[in-house]
């Protein structure tokens, strides 16, 4: 074929496979079962998450998007009777390999949860937590790193005068940014956000989204969200999941204007499905 001619289907298909150099997390035929329930949490999911981009997982409740996210820092290990098969590799290393230090993995793959969960400690100690468990205890180093993390999380100006105050006195949006600061203080490579704005008001939500936009220059971000508009706003790539399967994965621009799969279409346009 001539180079000029346009393959019509190429326009509608996922973008060409990203080069290996750009892949941060690679998921290959991942399945997840819970022994307690007959349901399959994840079935044969394969996808590649590009580095320093925002990838959003959307889908109805119970579709497995959070389960998939929790596979990336092995949070599912905490659930008794979870059985996993397939491969997840971070920068080419299989994170489910025997001998992988899970704590070390979680330092590389930070996570922010649905409801803000600052520790019942001071703002300072919250951000210092990850550093302290790594053995960083020098006041000067801590001060520096904490200021950096809080600045990066766009929270410094609001809390710099009350670092010793309890983190629980912050507003919900501030708490969530504090939790993000806490996560990035340990300088992870990947930041997993599990519905980070679902408990926040619209303005706080926009602040978080703005923050995500700034953070993606440094971190690979994976975000799970119920809010399709949010996924459309913040993400570069979007994966639509349903019933434990990956239905469609592609560039956000395409997925939200012209999805390939009728299931995706039904979901993002709000039809019965």
């Amino acid at each position: 074929m001539k180079t000029h001619s346009i393959d019509v289907h190429a326009l509608k298909r996922a973008p060409a496979r990203a080069g290996d150099d750009d892949v941060c997390l690679r998921v290959e035929e991942l399945s997840l079962h819970y022994l307690r329930s007959q349901n399959v949490a994840l079935e044969n999911v394969s996808l590649e998450i590009p580095r320093r981009r925002v990838t959003a997982f959307i889908g109805p409740s119970g579709c497995g998007k959070s389960s998939l996210l929790r596979c990336f820092n092995r949070m599912n290990d905490l659930i008794e009777g979870s059985v996993i098969s397939g491969r997840v590799s971070l920068e080419g290393e299989d994170i489910y390999d025997r001998g992988v230090d899970v704590a070390a993995l979680r330092r590389r793959v930070g996570m922010v949860f649905q409801s803000p969960n600052p520790f019942p400690k001071s703002i300072y100690e919250n951000v210092a937590f990850g550093l302290r468990i790594q053995g960083v205890n020098k006041k000067r180093v801590l001060d520096e790193e904490i200021e950096k993390a809080l600045r990066n999380a766009a929270l410094w100006d609001e809390v710099k005068d009350r670092l010793d105050g309890s983190a629980l006195t912050l507003s919900g949006g501030q708490q969530q940014r504090l939790v993000i600061a806490r996560a990035i203080a340990v300088q992870p490579e990947v930041l997993l956000l599990d519905e980070p704005a679902s408990a926040l008001d619209p303005i706080s939500t926009l602040r978080i989204e703005e923050l995500i936009y700034e953070l993606k220059t440094r971190y690979t971000i994976v975000i799970v969200t119920h809010n399709m508009q949010q996924a459309a706003r913040v993400s570069d790539m979007t994966a639509f999941m349903n019933l434990g399967r990956l239905v469609e994965y592609g560039e956000t621009d395409t997925l939200f204007t012209n999805p390939r799969e009728p299931q995706t279409e039904d979901y993002i346009t709000g039809r019965y499905g």
């Binding site: 979680r106 937590f129 309890s166 629980l168």
Partner: protein, 476 residues
């Protein structure tokens, strides 16, 4: 607005109020009853206890049948099968009378007075003495006091304390008594005292009660060793039960596999709280004192056998037994606290690369610290009031030597100790003259209640400090 505008609504509201009322009254009534009982108890303890220190008037009775008698009026009751009343008089000076308590029938009374010159003398080795001053000797010569006024008499007699002199007294019967200065502790003239002086006297007596060691088979003197013993026991018990209970709860809640075995252990722990405390005492005696202490003796102190070193009741064994007794409370409360720590705090710390232990000790346990403290408060309250097991495993009727000293090892865990609870029991039910010891029993009981209150208050303050440190917001 016309009143007829809202008849239905107000009717419905009224009906609602009417329905709610019985429940409100019932619950409020329960609270009131409980409060009244508590206040009543405290009032009883306080009034009866404090009256022990209050200078009682000395009554001089002139009797048809016998000689004059000077003493404190303890009771007045009808004579059985007679139309008369009789008085119970505490004469003191049991070394001079057959019995320090006498009944005097009112019909036989010739005269009754409260002489200003009557003195109440507290002695070191014998019971109180109620008498009149004759003279005083500071070691040189007898100084006649009979003509002095009572305030000067008291001052003169007080001066003799600490010298090698003596005090000359006369009992109401006219019998002279010579008292060595070393035997004199305090002298007062209750009938001649002003209000302020009475109060001063009462407080000084109270101070001595708290500061001094008991004398004369506990019926005299203070309870200081018992206070120290009680507090020490509770602190030691807390030091043992806190880590033990918290660790056990952590294991049950965090590490143990969820299954029938864990459930059974938990049910077992819960039921341990209901085992009668004397059973713990028996267990402590058998396991700790004879078992553990006995074998330690054989291992390390075999030279001094058969005299036991550790194989006898002592502070350590008592503290261990009490720790065992209060362990269920601490475990249950801690477990509840741990279960209430939100999952996302745990996950949050794990997600930052903390190991399970780090998450537990840096985040989860601190977040549950209030529940742990609540458990400890309950444990302390229970341990302070518990007497039965202590009788078996370490408490002594009389042990004026404190289990703490300035000599190595400072804390003598093998010693027996005194305990306020046991002191009350002993004084109230085992002492030869219950009537004279009654005030002491109430005073001690009040003291015990105050100590429990104080310990609890300390824990509550610590808890609220923690709450402030961890933010005002309640944990979700």
């Amino acid at each position: 607005m016309k009143p007829t505008d809202v008849p239905e609504i107000s009717g419905a509201l009224r009906a609602g109020v009417r329905r709610a009322e019985p429940m409100v009254w019932l619950s409020a009534g329960a609270v009131t009853l409980a409060l009244m009982l508590l206040v009543g108890l405290l009032f009883l303890l306080a009034s009866r206890g404090f009256s022990h220190f209050w200078p009682q008037p000395l009554i001089l009775l002139d009797n048809v049948e016998s000689k004059a008698q000077l003493g404190i009026l303890l009771d007045r009751e009808p004579v059985p099968y007679a139309q008369d009343y009789r008085l119970l008089l505490h004469l003191g000076g049991e070394d001079f009378f057959d019995s320090p308590l006498v009944w005097v029938e009112e019909a036989t009374l010739r005269a009754r007075s409260t002489p200003q010159a009557a003195l109440a003398i507290e002695r070191r080795d014998q019971g109180p003495l109620f008498a009149f001053a004759e003279g005083v000797d500071y070691g040189e010569a007898r100084l006649e006091l009979s003509d002095w006024n009572v305030a000067d008499q008291v001052a003169a007699i007080r001066k003799v304390r600490g010298t090698a002199g003596r005090v000359y007294l006369r009992l109401a019967s006219g019998r002279p008594v010579t008292l060595p200065a070393s035997d004199l502790i305090e002298v007062s003239s209750p009938n001649a005292m002003s209000g302020m002086a009475r109060i001063r006297h009462a407080f000084s007596a109270l101070g001595r009660f708290v500061r001094e060691a008991p004398r004369r088979g506990n019926v005299q003197g203070g309870v200081f060793p018992a206070i120290v013993g009680t507090v020490l026991l509770v602190l030691l018990m807390t030091a043992i039960v806190a880590p033990l209970g918290v660790l056990a709860a952590v294991y049950l809640q965090e590490y143990a596999q969820r299954g029938p075995l864990t459930r059974m252990v938990r049910i077992g722990v819960n039921n341990l709280a209901g085992v009668p405390s004397i059973v713990y005492g028996v267990f402590g005696l058998g396991f700790f004192v004879y078992g553990l202490g006995g074998s330690l003796d054989q291992l390390f102190f075999s030279d001094s056998l058969p005299a036991p070193t550790l194989g006898a009741p002592g502070l350590l064994w008592a503290a261990l037994t009490m720790a065992l007794l209060t362990l269920p409370v601490v475990i249950v409360s801690t477990e509840e606290g741990l279960a209430r720590v939100p999952r996302n705090l745990r996950e949050g710390s794990l997600a930052l690369g903390a190991t399970r232990a780090e998450a537990l000790f840096r985040v989860v346990l601190p977040a549950a610290s209030q529940a742990v403290l609540t458990g400890l408060i309950l444990a302390v309250a229970r341990a302070t009031g518990e007497v039965a097991p202590l009788i078996l495993v370490g408490v002594a009727k009389y042990a004026p030597g404190l289990p703490v000293s300035s000599e190595f090892p400072f804390l003598h865990l093998d010693q027996q100790f005194m305990h306020l609870g046991f002191y009350i029991y002993d004084l109230g039910f085992q002492s030869p003259s219950i009537e004279t010891a009654e005030g002491l029993v109430f005073a001690t009981a009040l003291l015990l209640v105050l100590i429990v209150l104080l310990l609890n208050l300390a824990a509550v303050m610590l808890r609220s400090r923690l709450r402030n440190a961890f933010g005002t917001q309640e944990l979700r």
